[in-house]
Symmetry: C2
Subunit: 573 residues, 2 copies
């Protein structure tokens, strides 16, 4: 699944891939805002001191209320559901009030304590002196942001470009639950696509613009409660999805999900409500996958604007800008400055450089410098980044300059995949029971993602069969096709059923005919159809199916189909 992700996103789109450390120095996560704001709201049972996530208590209370009152009219019900959908967007005070409104009581029967923020990052100390704080990264993205300059250089300064990272994220969840869905350590795959904020078009948008997605916009969540099916092209042109690049990745995610075998009918894209979204974000859409736990957020698609690079650039005093060449040079108005460096040095000492750098930055565009110039002319002084600058420190002239390129801080579009959640959902979407026998469970993993591609089974345990089995298994391994050999004495039908249960798509059987004519059968898991073919063709047929070059159907046309009644055989076991 991860290999296919890498191929679908990283390789086929020429992204850069990077691996950063899990342990992250505090300063990085302070800058990104995680130390201050990466929190969930928690309440305590006042008697036992047990902790609970406040939003989950509210969600559960509303579930209970609706279950107990099936006669609520639609408007009332809808009002409660609206509160539930916004549960994780409320302030501590709002949650305190709502927990009272919905009469949530702690296990010991008391009202809960007031809601307070709990930081979800795992903290540790780095180095022998113990005075350097680090956190386990809560997301992989920050490593890519702090390495932005290096990535841009690796990409030969070309924009737009994307960098990807596959690795672990850690969150000290207050209440891990729902099987694999809410865990404290999980595999993430994140893409940071850097674009010019003034041009978020995507060169390959045309290739996916007709792809239809099930969309649940913010307005519909607060209003009708209904989803719509729209093509990505329509969604972007009507402004529902903010821009082409965001829409492009939503469509690519959909294609990936279909490729790994997810049920398209159980996929929807939910837009973040204004109250859920960070102030800097332009638009966010979560891919939600339906499983027995309901609709679960599995992939985020966020347009994070320039926030991340801006804060890291400021904190490290490092330029994190890209340049765009103009086709023809452009004339702009700038201020030409002349500093009284001696005076600036005397007044600001070690801060002298920061002051002149700040002035230089403003001087690059006359529109930015004009208010400074006016203030200095009028009052003789003004404040810049907290420093009082006086008129005798700098003189200026308004002038024109030809520029060949523009500098800008790139915006970031971030698709972020929770691989564990996707895996869990895929397990649910893949499970089924045979019509004829509900004890026969099957995982319908498609050949590309199935952890094991083939089972090789001898019909009898004689040594002459084992030789052929080992030879076939070795030829499959040699083609990197993970293979499972089952030489147990169980009936063949029982062994087919075992390999069905763990989702092996193909079973190769070595039978009595094999010994005389070197042919074997291949059985396809879902149809249970078998074909007979020379054993020397097996590895290339399986290889080509796994890599999507031929289909099983074409094989059933090329090779003779064998009639087998498995029901009976299966009963023998």
């Amino acid at each position: 699944m991860i290999d296919l992700w890498r191929k679908h996103f990283v390789l086929s789109e020429n992204m850069l891939e990077m691996e950063c450390t899990n342990l992250t120095p505090e300063v990085v996560l302070k800058t990104s805002g995680h130390v201050e704001r990466f929190t969930d709201l928690m309440v305590k049972d006042p008697k036992t001191q047990e902790c609970f996530r406040a939003d989950k208590l509210l969600e559960d209370a509303i579930d209970d209320l609706l279950e107990k009152n099936p006669t609520f009219d639609t408007a009332t019900k809808e009002e409660h559901l609206r509160v539930q959908r916004q549960a994780d967007a409320y302030s501590p005070e709002e949650l305190d009030r709502l927990l009272v409104t919905y009469e949530c009581l702690s296990p010991s029967g008391e009202p809960f304590s007031q809601a307070f923020p709990f930081n979800l990052m795992f903290k540790t100390s780095i180095g022998p002196e113990g005075n350097s704080v680090g956190y386990l990264r809560p997301e992989t993205a920050q490593g890519l942001f702090v390495n932005f300059r290096r990535l841009l250089e690796l990409n030969a300064q070309k924009m737009p470009f994307a960098a990807a990272q596959i690795g672990l994220g850690f969150r000290n969840e207050i209440a891990p639950r729902s099987g694999l869905l809410r865990v404290r350590e999980f595999c993430m795959a994140e893409i940071e696509h850097f674009v010019n904020p003034d041009d978020k078009s995507h060169p390959n948008f045309a290739s996916i613009k007709d792809k239809k997605l099930l969309l649940f916009g913010a307005d519909d969540q607060l209003g009708s409660g209904k989803t719509k099916t729209l093509s990505v092209g329509e969604a972007v042109s009507t402004g529902l999805v903010n821009n082409e690049t965001l829409g492009y990745f939503m469509a690519r995610t959909q294609l990936y999900m279909e490729k790994i075998g997810m049920d398209p009918k159980r996929l929807r894209y939910r837009q973040h409500l204004a109250t859920e979204m960070a102030h800097y974000a332009a638009d966010c859409w979560d891919l939600e996958i339906k499983s027995s736990y309901g609709w679960v957020e599995c992939v985020g698609h966020a347009d994070r604007a320039c926030y991340d690079l801006d804060v890291h650039a400021k904190a490290t005093n490092t330029s994190m800008v890209a340049t765009m060449k103009y086709e023809t040079p452009v004339e702009i108005e700038v201020a030409k400055l002349k500093f009284n460096r001696k005076l600036i040095g005397m007044v600001f000492k070690k801060d002298a450089r920061a002051v002149s750098t700040a002035l230089d930055a403003l001087a690059e565009d006359w529109k930015d410098f004009e208010p400074i110039a006016k203030a200095l002319d009028a009052d003789g002084k003004t404040s810049i980044d907290g420093f009082e600058v006086t008129k005798d420190m700098v003189s200026w002239a308004q002038t024109k300059k030809k520029v060949h390129e523009a500098k800008f801080t790139p915006s970031v579009i971030e698709p972020s995949f929770g691989m564990g959640r996707i895996l869990y959902s895929l397990l649910e979407h893949s499970f089924y029971q045979r019509d004829m026998d509900e004890q026969r469970c099957v995982m319908r993993f498609n050949p590309r993602v199935a952890p094991q591609k083939c089972a090789v089974l001898p019909i009898s345990s004689g040594p002459e069969f084992n030789v052929v089995v080992d030879e076939i298994a070795a030829s499959l391994m040699d083609y990197d096709l993970a293979t499972r050999v089952d030489k147990s004495t169980a009936a063949l039908g029982r062994r087919y059923a075992r390999s069905d249960e763990i989702g092996v798509p193909f079973a190769i059987t070595v039978d009595f005919d094999t010994l005389s004519d070197d042919s074997v059968t291949i059985r396809e898991r879902d149809s249970m159809v078998q074909i007979r073919l020379p054993k020397k063709d097996v590895h290339s047929v399986i290889f080509d199916i796994v890599h999507g070059r031929i289909t099983w159907e074409s094989c059933t046309e090329k090779y003779p189909v064998v009639q087998v009644d498995e029901g009976e055989d299966g009963d023998n076991s």
Copy 2:
């Protein structure tokens, strides 16, 4: 490199693979002994409180001493080197004395503080209440040990078997240094091979017994200081290497190293000194790889005996034994017990069960129970696991029992790979400069492990070339061959040199002939030989070379070789 590791070890030997969490509850690492003993000895500068690793200070001091005294006679020199080789095996008191002997002073000019142990694990707290301690795992092995029963079950109870894990390890190194060699977070690949302690033979030993290894035994380290070249078969039969399974993995490691392109002349196996080895370990051999940092430990091969499973079994009160079927049943002498359960319950209360379980365990072999029986007969009481058992609690009879299988706690043979160190060493072993021009640097990554397999280069920037370049790149990608397209306007020689520098083994050039006859050239990096072939053959030729099915040499026989003088072309850039 990791893919090839998985194929070489996990897939081809049918190992189980598992991924456990990085965050590990304290109890697991207390049981394994890491909380108490996973330490390095540290000293402090008494003025600045700066911390240093005591053994590294000693090693450096000896380096300095030898450098300043080139006239030392061989015996004196050898004596100092012996001390240096044992540096990390001394006790705190010994190190204190040696730091004085070798006149090590802190940066502030004072003698160092006394050496004290510093735990290398990163500590954090798990859960919202903050009262549950966890550590980042210092090795991946413990996860496999605590899951032993599940793994054995997955392997259908069959022994011997191996489980592998690839993942991160974390160590709070006192002094990270030496580039990628000593870091605080690193990728490890570990195998735990579980065997019967009475039979450590390996079924495939014959396949590698003639493989020659450069061995540096404990005796030679303390004596001659010289290595020997021996076949694994000789090493095991003479008892230098403890057993077949350990020798088997050492040989398999050597084969892996050669497969990824490591220089075999810079690989040696160093046996642990008795003072370095844990008390329970039977034998340990480190693969050391030579680089500019000297001989560096990159892979450990340890026979850890039954220690790990024993301690976890005891701590969790869970049986971690495997069974071995006898071909014919065996009669053994056992004790048949009869408990006075009422009395035991009254005396031991909640510990009653532990006492009867301990007695039952001893009763399984008369040899184990005999001393208990004698003590009870003689004194009327005895002590079992710290409990005083009296004669009125249990009666017994010596009897015979037919058994069909033996239960045993498996021994563990553990090859443990530091993937970061291997990668770094491979970079050094792969680097060279062209004879004709030392500015032309090349990485000789072999096609199997090269991160990018091909470069595709158009000879000119016209759109008709780009179409062909994109088409070839797409066909390579479709075969999972990571491909780099370089359409820049630099001279072709310059672009070849660029792809050499990052170790791309093949460069495919689209030239003017391509437009008329659909043929392209493939250039091999090290020989700089080029062949001309139809563009439709490119992906299959590269694919077969990368997967080791055909050689480049066979391609130069099959397809016409083109004469190119790169020296000149290169100068154009």
